[in-house]
Amino acid sequence: MSGNMNLTLKVWRQKNSSASGKFVTYKAPEISPDMSFLEMLDVVNEGLVKKSEDPIQFDHDCREGICGMCSLVINGEPHGPKRATTTCQLHMRSFNDGDTIVIEPFRAAAFPVVKDLAVNRSAFDRIQQAGGYVSIGTGGVPDANEIAIPKVIADEAFNSATCIGCGACVAACKNASAMLFVSAKISQYAMLPQGQPERYARAEAMVLQMDEEGFGGCTNTYACEAKCPKEIKVTNIARMNREFFNAEFIKG
């Protein structure tokens, strides 16, 4: 079909977490501009399987930009060149015929490579487990409309809650810092009345778990905000700092 592109891919291949990896070059011929980036990789993989070569491993699931499973650093950019877009929603029309595309995994000590482009982001789960919840059980809760929440607060909390936990913030940050992710959750609960009883204990527990996982510190370059597919704002990080210092120096 006309308008199709021939591309060269340089893909990071790594057998497992303990193996050392390297870049391998593949041809991606006849790529339609209507394909998503992951569909382009599907096509390459199908070609590899036909040749009995090991297909490229990458994480993906919903392909609608909401599950947060897809990742990839494409030509140096987590989730590729478009703003507010996950890799699964990136289309090949963002590239040109003849391009060479370098594809790497998210790189961070806290995100060890599982295989090829897939990394282990369970550190994020452990941070959430440390305090990313309201300690209430099922049942016995008040009627939903007994808690009135000003719309501006609800909307702002929602903005923080849209984080999909993909880890692009860590991948983009020169320090591999997870603060945008952690602060989004801390912020959501810090703003809502439901989060108040555990507000400071939560902030402390989540920050300390984040440190334990080996993420770097924030140097306020705001690369995370620029690359966040859900456009989570760095004001969340400021709020987290406030919550944490409050927890440590005043409320603790």
Partner: protein, 643 residues
């Protein structure tokens, strides 16, 4: 006849009475029970968290890298609840009634009433967890009308309701993981159920990182593994969504109920080519202001497809607003199944648009003229952006192209009122079971059902079973575990020995095309019979010529896919059998032979007001049909009409 164990007594008192009749587990004994929960979507996460809160030891499994990724997360529209906050006449009974009617009278009154009843608790629960639902300026919760409902009972969180609800359930799960009551196994795929003395007492899983085949024992097993829409290859499901857990359970004795009931959603972004891996849904709220049309003649359609003319250049008399023409009173707002079927029909007549000819227009030009572009953007801006991102077309200037896509499967594992399958101790929750939506699911009801099952049904009904079997430990070293484990290992080996010439994806695509063509939006006997043979051949070919690469002891996507597609190939055949058996049209099941003179689904309540529950009898053997008669004591069965 199957017994669904629906409690006796008046509809509104069944659940309360039942809750009292259920046996309880002594609080100090709860920690002696181990519960296995497979899947961490809305049903699985809420069940795992709630059961752990009660004191049971829970082991939870998901194939994704984190429990938060389950596909419940992708639900956009909202969640229904009979709160009647807007004071517009809603009630538990009305939600019950709408759900039964929407399901074309193929669901159980008792289950559906319970669902409507606990719907109100769900909203309370989620708000208490900090789920940021949309609110009014007064600070209280906002509601909207959804999917043609006459009352506003849908709670929503922008277009990301599923995400916010799942993150709420995930947070409850995380709390229990932190407390040590839930042990979470991620990147673990369930490959079989282990039964001991006829009771489900464990599962066999494969660790997707290193291939370890593991045995896990428990007093009960809960399958919360979602639907099987990916049997069609292209669907709005996630890439990983699969039927394996449910199908393996089916082969161990759990009945599969109404597998032919599939919901096809009318407003999806059309397929752009063979590379297409999945379909993206756009909220059906778009039909509130968009007008659906195709060119009046094949010739014009052809010129459009070739790009010789543009849609905007067509005059009014060259356009066929087929929904408005055929359904003057409901117009573009006819139910999902009707809208989908009509779109397929016009495309089959050769009037489809887009490069592939498999699309119809959804046109906002009139709305933009009437309301202004700003108003339209405020209402649908995010959907328009999404459409533009995927198609590279500007829906403010050009009409959108839409086409139906498989979205949800109403069928699933047969469960009784307690959500227990036909294997004692094996439960199915959420989309994995068949119970509440009949032949068609209403918009914003999937989230409701998943959470109802997990938060408010299973914590009661499971205790009854556990109290009866007692807390004696279950031993994973029993020979039954070793036997099933070795069968799983053999199957893995067999798959890995396939070094043919056709990729697993190619088989999957072929299967999807057969299912879509012959068991999709409309079916007929001839086509179904043909499809049955085709699938059977395809399956035989798969086990000869598929390519499965690599070893078990590594991350192996080739092996994972092969196992799932092998199960889809078997399920596909059962879906065909079920569709062939059901000589009527109802909801998502439309048999060409059974339609009213106006072309609407024609039910046969005398012969088919039953649940078709299929029992596995052996490889390549016909499945055995068990019927559960549906009793309607509180609603009158009527014919739907949208003229």
């Amino acid at each position: 006849m199957l017994d669904a164990k629906i409690p006796s007594g008046p509809l509104a008192e069944k659940w309360n009475k039942h809750k009292f009749d259920l046996k309880l587990v002594n609080p100090s004994n709860k920690r002696k029970y181990d519960i296995i929960v497979v899947g961490t979507g809305l049903a699985g996460a809420s069940a795992a968290a709630s059961l752990a809160e009660l004191g049971y030891n829970v082991k939870a499994f998901c194939f994704q890298d984190s429990p938060r990724r389950a596909h419940s997360i992708a639900a956009q529209g909202g969640i229904n609840a009979a709160k009647n906050y807007p004071n517009d006449g809603d009630s538990v009974f009305r939600l019950f009634y709408d759900t039964i009617k929407g399901g074309d009278y193929r669901s159980r009154e008792g289950n559906v009433y319970r669902l409507a009843e606990v719907s109100v608790n769900i909203i309370d629960q989620c708000v208490a967890q900090g789920v940021p639902f949309a609110r009014e300026y007064g600070g209280l919760l906002d509601n909207r009308s959804f999917g043609g409902a006459q009352v506003s009972r849908t709670f929503y969180a922008r277009g990301q309701t599923g995400q916010q609800l799942l993150l709420g359930a995930y947070s409850a799960l995380n709390r229990q993981i932190n407390l040590g009551k839930v042990k979470m196994y991620t990147r673990s795929e369930m490959l079989d159920v282990v039964t001991v003395d006829g009771k489900a007492q464990g599962i066999i899983t494969r660790n997707l990182i290193d291939g370890t085949i593991e045995s896990h024992a428990g007093h009960a097993v809960l399958l919360c593994t979602g639907g099987y829409g990916n049997v069609f290859y292209l669907s709005t499901n996630a890439m990983g969504s699969n039927v394996t857990a449910a199908w393996r359970a089916h082969k161990r004795g759990a009945y599969m109920a109404n597998p032919c009931y599939t919901q096809i959603h009318p407003t999806c972004i059309p397929v752009s080519g063979d590379h297409q891996s999945k379909l993206t849904l756009m909220s059906e709220s778009l039909r509130n202001d968009g007008r659906v049309w195709v060119p009046k003649t094949k010739e014009i359609a052809e010129r459009l497809r070739k790009g010789e003319i543009k849609a905007v250049d067509l005059k009014e008399d060259e356009r066929d607003y087929f929904l408005e023409r055929k359904y003057p009173s409901f117009g573009n707002l006819v139910p999902r199944d009707v809208a989908s079927r009509n779109a397929k029909q016009v495309c089959d007549e050769g009037k489809g648009v887009g490069k592939t000819g498999l699309a119809v227009y959804l046109d906002f030009a009139d709305s933009i003229k009437r309301l202004g572009e700003d108003t339209v953007a405020a209402k649908y801006g995010n959907l328009f952006d999404m459409y533009r991102q995927i198609t590279d077309e500007n829906p403010y200037k050009l009409p959108m192209r839409i086409y139906p896509a498989v979205h949800y499967t109403m069928g699933g594992l047969w469960v009784d009122y307690n959500l227990m399958t036909s294997i004692p101790g094996l439960y199915a929750l959420g989309e994995a079971n068949f119970s509440d939506h009949g032949a068609n699911r209403l918009g914003a009801s999937a989230l409701m059902q998943g959470l109802a099952d997990g938060y408010f049904v299973i914590p009661y009904t499971l205790g009854d079973y556990l109290a009866k079997i007692g807390p004696a430990p279950i031993d994973a070293n029993r020979p039954e575990f070793a036997k099933v484990k070795s069968e799983v290992e053999v199957r893995v080996k067999t798959l890995l020995s396939l070094r043919g010439n056709k990729t697993v994806d190619e088989y999957h695509r072929d299967l999807g095309k057969i299912m879509w063509e012959y068991c999709g939006m409309s079916r007929d006997e001839e086509g179904l019979k043909k499809a049955k043979g085709m699938i059977s051949d395809l399956r035989a070919d798969f086990w000869k010529n598929a390519i499965v690469l690599g070893d078990n002891e590594e991350v192996n996507q080739s092996l994972e896919k092969a196992g799932r597609v092998a199960d889809f190939l078997e399920l596909g055949e059962l879906m065909i059998d079920d569709a062939l058996n059901r000589d009527e049209s109802c909801g998502g099941h439309f048999r060409e032979e059974y339609q009213t003179p106006e072309g609407e689904a024609l039910r046969n309540d005398d012969d088919f007001a039953y649940v078709a529950a299929w029992a596995y009898t052996g490889d390549n053997m016909p499945e055995e049909l068990h019927k559960e008669q549906l009793e309607f004591e509180n609603v009158k069965l009527t014919q739907r009409s949208y003229k």
